[in-house]
Amino acid sequence: MPLELVCPAGSLMALKAAVDNGADAVYMGFRDNTNARAFPGLNFDEAQAAEGLRYAHDRGRKVLLALNTYPQSDTWQRWTGAVDRAAKLGMDAVILADAGLMRYAVKNHPQLRLHLSVQGSATSYEAVNFYREHFGVQRAVLPRVLSLPQVEAVVKNTAVEIELFGFGGLCVMVEGRCLLSSYCTGESPNSAGVCSPAKSVQWKETSSGLESRLNGVLLDRYGKDEKAGYPTLCKGRFEVSGETYYALEEPTSLNTLDLLPEMLKMGIAAIKIEGRQRSPAYVTQVTKVWRAAIDAVKKNAESFAPAPAWMAELNKLSEGQSHTLGAYNRPWK
């Protein structure tokens, strides 16, 4: 079935919100750094995961487990233990980035379905097919760097299902190939499961405005009328050749509602909504809009146009209250 809606579940409440509002699948992580949203107070212990699975399965929905950080030599067992637990719990798939961990999963749990995480940085069909041939990966989540025609070239040249990010926080860098966070704080998504970690953030009111710092590095300074966003490193304002601006990316969100007909036509298997760190209320609203949109495009792709009310609702929820088509739309690059 094309265009499966995959929604974020940072908590049991969020999982239920996603399921109740029309997600075909939810994705979650265990409560440690085996996933790329290793935030305090987020994610599932084993009992909660079991309850979430029951809730979703009773309603015919799937649960995917993100194990998408890179295990280190001395912590290897934490990741293999997580794969074992995923299999035991009956997860519908595990989302992995590390090739060594994939080999472990295939060897020890051959029945467990594998998805290639966006953190695996596969941007070509050659890379995607590598994971298919060696580990039987059945679905790949593509980094947010390809234009739609480039995505189509991947889809046409692989038997692996392709999942795309549809909405939420926008990584401007190739996921899995960004060490900006550890350069600044010592912790990166790859090795620690966090980007621009909250514990390294400092806010300070100064005479020249509200300042946000990450491990002491000034990321931005806000005027009185400016809304301050979470200080994600790549979305700060910096100086380049005497000019101060968002040198890497504005604080904006990805929103691809406009592209749904093309995604359907090219055979995209699933649309992923970012935001395991967001509230159940957020998950409810985003899931509702995307469910309606996907149903509408499947009913009639030719006449599909995003309803103004959907766009308004999503814009309200967006970081910086603005959105972009990102790399899917070539001029963004």
Partner: protein, 297 residues
């Protein structure tokens, strides 16, 4: 333990690029990595030019390795990759898993580059089985983590470490140099040519932070492990990678060569020829931008 010259990460004129490698032919580096790894729009040297250079440097006694593009986006990117693999004359460094697939299918030995994200011995073992003979850890990996990994590395696997230069930290579909000039990427007017060591990015209080290099983001600080040479040798590291800069590269190589020969204080004059402040935080398991105070008090 010996030295390698990493791939040129910036975009220089044809003349400057050839002049750089002509000089490099006489530097005390055992290996030279060649090729465009950052951006497919950089075309002043095309693959045949790189292959000519490879022949010349090989004749001068260097081991030449062709390094592949890190972010593959289009079919034409894949075409170049296939040509590199098909050429077969030189060892290839795979910088993403599509290259690994092509090289292992062709049953060719290869170097597993740092952007393959090898963080544990199991993944290194997967790559060894596919033909990797040498590997580089991600630049954020600490000495302690690397030592733990090397203890269980497959037999015969050589370890190379990025030991000098601005750190390649991130890759994007977006070109930040073109963005700086308000140009679309497809019509970037090759502004990278004006920034031989990248475009410096500072915080709003004027502290150097990062370096813009087209679609790549580098550190502003220069990773410099010259004071760690003895301990790296003890760990069994085989090769130290020095990343090209536009000026004084010969002096950088000479300083590391002196350190390898056991010279004390080999790095003393290095600060004068570095394009940014020295950093070594990653090596010590801390934030990359930090510098070990004990070493540089």
């Amino acid at each position: 333990m010996n030295l390698s010259l990493g791939p040129l990460l910036y975009y220089w004129s044809r003349e400057d690029t050839f002049a750089f490698y002509e000089a490099a032919a006489s530097w005390p580096v055992a290996r030279i990595y060649l090729g465009e790894t950052v951006c497919s729009r950089r075309h002043l040297l095309r693959l045949p030019d790189w292959l000519d250079l490879a022949e010349r440097l090989s004749a001068a006694g260097k081991e030449v390795v062709l390094s592949t593009q890190t972010l593959i986006e289009s079919e034409s990117d894949l075409k170049v990759l296939r040509k590199i693999v098909r050429d077969g004359r030189f060892l290839v460094e795979a910088n993403e898993w599509g290259a690994v697939r092509l090289l292992s299918e062709a049953k060719l030995p290869f170097v597993a580059g740092s952007t393959l994200n090898i963080y544990n011995p199991e993944t290194l073992d997967v790559l060894a089985g596919l033909g990797a003979r040498r590997w580089l850890p991600p630049v954020e990996v600490s000495r302690t983590a690397l030592a733990a990994l090397m203890e269980r590395a497959p037999d015969g696997m050589e370890t190379e470490v990025f030991a000098y230069g601005r750190l390649p930290l991130a890759y994007s579909a977006r070109c930040f140099t073109a963005r700086h000039y308000n140009l679309p990427k497809d019509d970037c007017q090759f502004r990278c040519l004006d920034h031989a060591d990248g475009l410096p990015l500072s915080t709003r209080e004027g502290k150097p932070f990062l370096t813009i290099n087209g679609i790549q983001t580098q550190s502003a600080g220069v990773y410099n492990l010259i004071d760690e040479v003895a301990s790296m040798r003890e760990m069994g590291i085989d090769c130290l990678r020095l990343s090209p800069q536009s000026h004084h590269m010969a002096r950088v190589v000479a300083a590391f060569d002196a350190a390898l020969a056991g010279g004390t204080n080999a790095g003393a004059g290095l600060a004068k020829v570095m394009p940014g402040p020295s950093v070594d935080g990653y090596w010590h398991g801390r934030a990359g931008l930090e510098q070990d105070a004990a070493q540089h008090a």
